[in-house]
């Protein structure tokens, strides 16, 4: 039986949610939380999203979307444009090619994988920004940001998993 118009629309809407959620996280990451010291080390939530969806549903997060997500992070952050775009694309590329390793692993292994991937991403971002400004950027804030992003990973990851189970199971 061919799906009706509304069924197809519903499917399409569901398919768009991983990208939409990630874009929303980008904007949420910019909110001033009024917590002392947080702004400098705010966790890189979009990276969590790119990591999760690339492992779980790369069909719903194409490379073009990753490019747009990274570009949006760059444009909103006020830093050099292209850095996060490149970092996110690299993360996407690495995980996509090594997906066989990541898939079906326990949560702890996935978390450990994220710690490694995020470390490489932070190092890449640091190198790119340092080259862009041709000075060595102080790495302290970046280090704390990395630690915070890794420590908080289970929160967004759990949300994405639940989302996946509820809305994306049949797609």
């Amino acid at each position: 039986m061919r799906p009706t118009f509304w069924q197809r629309l519903d499917q399409l809407a569901r398919k768009l949610t991983p990208v939409a959620l990630t874009l929303l996280l980008v904007i949420v990451g910019q909110i001033p939380w009024h917590l002392p010291g947080l702004a400098r080390v705010a966790p890189l939530l979009p990276l969590t999203a790119v990591y999760h969806w690339t492992i779980q549903r790369p069909d719903l997060l194409p490379a073009q979307a990753v490019f747009c997500i990274g570009l949006l992070v760059d444009l909103l952050s006020g830093g050099p444009i292209g850095v996060n775009t490149l970092v996110f694309l690299t993360v996407y590329g690495v995980i996509y090619s090594q997906r066989r390793f990541f898939i079906g692993k326990t949560f702890h292994i996935t978390w450990l994988g994220f710690a490694l991937v995020a470390a490489a991403a932070a190092l890449q971002a640091w190198l790119l920004v340092s080259i862009f400004y041709t000075i060595l950027i102080r790495p302290d804030a970046l280090m704390f940001q990395y630690i915070l992003t890794v420590v908080l990973y289970p929160v967004p990851a759990w949300l994405f998993l639940r989302w996946q189970q509820v809305f994306l199971r049949a797609i």
């Binding site: 904007i27 001033p32 909103l76 444009i81 850095v83 590329g93 790119l128 950027i137």
Partner: protein
């Protein structure tokens, strides 16, 4: 259901993989290209940034409101707890300030008198635009804020953003309904300052830490921890005398400043228009002829070569 299509599918998959790989490489190259372009053409990137920020301002505005409300409530609770101590402290401060007021009145009178003797031309009156902070962006690499007011409200690139306690930063780019403030702690921030007690001139340079450094001090100058640092007004970008912070540390190779304004306390900021064009307006932006009255001052996004 897909059974009849199997063979075609088998051929199509590797082809699609190759296409995907090419698309991916193209995107990586495009990202590289953007970085290079951003290095070469800051104006274009800034304009792009301004437009995107402008477009997302309504969303950020809405999202930041509940958080601000919660922060206010928490603040209120904290204030309630400290009410007694704070009251005693404020009474003491009030007494001291009343004494200062007497002194200030006397000095103001004397000042006015002396100025009239000298035919002194006073500074132009400042014009303020208050705006709410709707985004605190940047993370580890850039320190900037987004305000929910733009050129529509009279904000222009290069103006100073202040709070009641001191300087916050300068407007790095202004869209129609949003503006980006480059904080004084940002890597790209360079501000001509004055150490108040000694009159020593210096440049305050951000380095992405919480405490910017003082550089380019004249040789032999002496600064001490606790000295107040204010804007010097050189270069015309900022009005002179805006408080910035106090000297925190005087080391062998670095002098750091502790700003008065903490980034996390910022809820509303005031953008100051002193009527000073400043060094940020390149000559090509001046109206070509005095006749062109209608030429409005150019928007922030158009200004070239402003990276200090």
């Amino acid at each position: 259901m897909q059974e009849p299509f199997r063979p075609a599918y088998r051929i199509a998959t590797p082809l699609r993989n190759i296409a995907q790989r090419f698309a991916y490489m193209g995107l990586v190259l495009a990202a590289f290209g953007l970085m290079l372009l951003g290095r070469a053409d800051t104006v274009l990137m800034e304009r792009l940034q301004t437009h995107v920020t402008d477009a997302l301002t309504p969303i950020m505005d809405v999202l930041s409101r509940p958080v601000a409300t919660i922060a206010n409530i928490v603040d209120y609770g904290r204030n309630l707890a400290n009410l007694h101590d704070e009251n005693a402290e404020l009474r003491e401060t009030n007494e001291r300030l009343l004494q200062w007021q007497t002194v200030a009145r006397r000095l103001e009178l004397e000042n006015a008198h002396l100025r009239s003797l000298l035919n002194f031309k006073p500074d132009p009156n400042a014009h303020y635009v208050s705006a709410r902070v709707i985004a605190d962006t940047g993370g580890a690499f850039a320190h900037s804020l987004v305000l929910n007011a733009g050129t529509r409200d009279g904000i222009r690139k290069g103006q100073a953003a202040v709070t009641g306690t001191g300087l916050v930063g300068r407007i790095a780019g202004a869209g129609n309904i949003s503006a980006r403030v480059l904080l004084i702690t940002d890597l790209n921030s360079r501000i001509p300052v004055l150490v108040e007690s000694t009159g020593t001139r210096a440049i305050m340079a951000g380095d992405n830490s919480d405490q910017p450094r003082l550089i380019h001090l004249p040789p032999g100058s002496v600064v001490n921890p606790g000295d107040r640092v204010v804007t010097s007004g050189h270069g015309g970008a900022f009005p002179p005398g805006l408080p910035i912070g106090v000297i925190a540390l005087v080391g062998d190779d670095r002098i750091t400043v502790q700003p008065f304004v903490g980034r996390d306390q910022l809820d509303y900021v005031r953008v100051m228009d002193f009527g000073l064009e400043g060094i940020l307006q390149p000559p090509r932006e001046m109206p070509p002829m005095p006749v062109s009255r209608g030429a409005s001052p150019n928007t922030g996004g158009e200004v070239a070569s402003s990276r200090p």
